[in-house]
């Protein structure tokens, strides 16, 4: 299946009548196969809503998401999702979490074990296979979450602020890890973040979104060669440019919040 994602006139309104909140307004974009795309914006810009629509969790009010020529109607393992809250199954150890999707797919036990071995090793989890999630740090948990979807070899990886809850150093380590995996497996990645630096560090392309209703404010390609130096001049020039765009939306969000508008 082609891993190209087309977002076609995607709109989403939550609620009805006076309480209706327009989350997404007529978003159109094509994410080619193998691209690392970041959705960047403040809280309430609809970036997570858009990601959930691509994942098939949130039905759109209008428009559609097309993957490999077919409209997305439900969640599926071809669009593996990594959640900010890890969402590991706490009653399964690391190994069983990674194996879970393979079991569902009906992969024979021995084949599944080979895959689990490989993926667990790729993410440096070999020594933690029998641990339960409660005994892992946040960074380790997120490695397991990535391993869990990677085991199913999805053409598209969806990531909803996956490193948002981690400390800065763990975060950078996992960003590098993700880039390594992305380079090795050539997945299409759609990555939601509100961190400007994270977006520039990771992405091929950044979609800056506006605060409520979510629209595309800027669609930019990051040309800086990898590995990217966060202290370099071009990195910081881009950061300054994006900060201007994002902070304008952040101010709209703040004033809406101060005036009592609903926050997602």
């Amino acid at each position: 299946m082609s891993a190209q994602i087309e977002i076609a006139h995607a709109s989403k309104v939550f609620g009805t009548g006076d309480g209706a909140v327009p989350a997404l307004d007529d978003i159109t974009a094509t994410v080619p196969e193998g691209q690392f795309l970041c959705l960047l914006g403040p809280s309430g810009c609809g970036k997570s809503t858009l990601l959930n629509a691509i994942a098939g969790f949130t039905p759109l009010s209008a428009g559609q998401i097309i993957m490999g020529g077919r409209p997305v109607t439900e969640p599926g393992p071809d669009r593996g999702m990594v959640f900010q809250e890890y969402a590991l199954f706490p009653w399964m150890n690391v190994e069983d979490n990674v194996r879970f999707g393979l079991d569902i797919r009906g992969v024979p036990r021995t084949d599944a074990t080979v895959t689990v071995d490989r993926i667990v090793a790729t993410l440096g989890l070999s020594d933690f296979r029998k641990r339960y999630p409660k005994d892992l740090s946040g960074g380790m948990r997120q490695r397991v979450a990535i391993a869990r979807i990677l085991a199913l070899d999805p053409p598209v990886m969806l990531m909803d602020e996956p490193f948002g809850a981690l400390d800065a150093l763990t975060r950078r380590t996992l960003q590098d890890e993700l880039l390594r995996i992305w380079a090795e497996y050539r997945k299409t990645v759609i990555f939601v973040t509100h961190s400007i630096e994270e977006a520039i560090y990771l992405a091929d392309r950044i979609l800056v979104m506006t605060y409520r209703p979510g629209r595309i404010k800027r669609d930019m390609t990051v040309e800086i060669p990898r590995p990217r130096d966060t202290a370099s001049g071009e990195f910081n020039a881009l950061k300054r440019e994006l900060a201007g765009l994002v902070m304008a939306e952040q101010q709209r969000f703040t004033s809406a919040e101060l005036h009592g508008a609903a926050v997602d």
Partner: protein, 267 residues
Amino acid sequence: MHRLRGAIVPLVLLILWEVLSRAGVFSPIVLPPPSAVAVKWYQGILPGLPYDPATEGYWHWVFSGEMPHDAIASLARVLTGFCLGAGLAVPVGLLLGTSDRLYGLFSPLLEILRPIPPIAYIPLAIVWFGLGNPPALFLIALGTFFPVLVNTIAGVRQVDSIYIRAARNLGAGSWTMFRRVILPAASPFVLAGMRIGIGTAFIVVIVAEMIAVSDGLGYRILEAREYMWSDKIIGGMLTIGVLGLIIDGAMSRLNDHLLRWHRGLER
């Protein structure tokens, strides 16, 4: 050191009790001295007849004393009633927990029935089942049923939606979702309900034995009252306490083992 300190108050009370009883402050019928209770208790444990390999096995003989017999009878009733009650409550709870429609239909009924203490069913149980084990097991099962049911429903309904979303994303169908996500996610609640349930069952068994049957610890202490054998009554109460402790301890160890993945057990 802390353990030793904890023994001080019980020991002092025990000595005080012994001294006061022996001094004749309380009549032996009101409060026999602890030494008399201990003797009676020990006698109750011993087999009544000498060991005869021709008529019975050794272990059968060891447990042939009155008290072991009663304790085993009570324990068997608790376990049978508990299995009946929990065995019914878990599937019903899973069903009501998963289906909003069924939950809407049945929850008002549950709200009405739930606060009725199982003991209040005694007259009806006797009318329905007569005397003997059937009403006793009915009451014990009833005592187990509601705590397990209510907790199972709550457990299923509170399953964090993030697990459901993650499982759907990984391709889980409804059966896998139920078996490998909802069931384990709800299990801490279900087990908590079982622990409450077996506690209730243990209360109910004593009462039920006082009324419907002619053996078991509950029956035995009521019987002792007719002869004013207060030492035997207190000894029986001690056995009940020990049995309760064993049951709760076993339940708690089972919980710890089954829920070893659970966050609440971090030490």
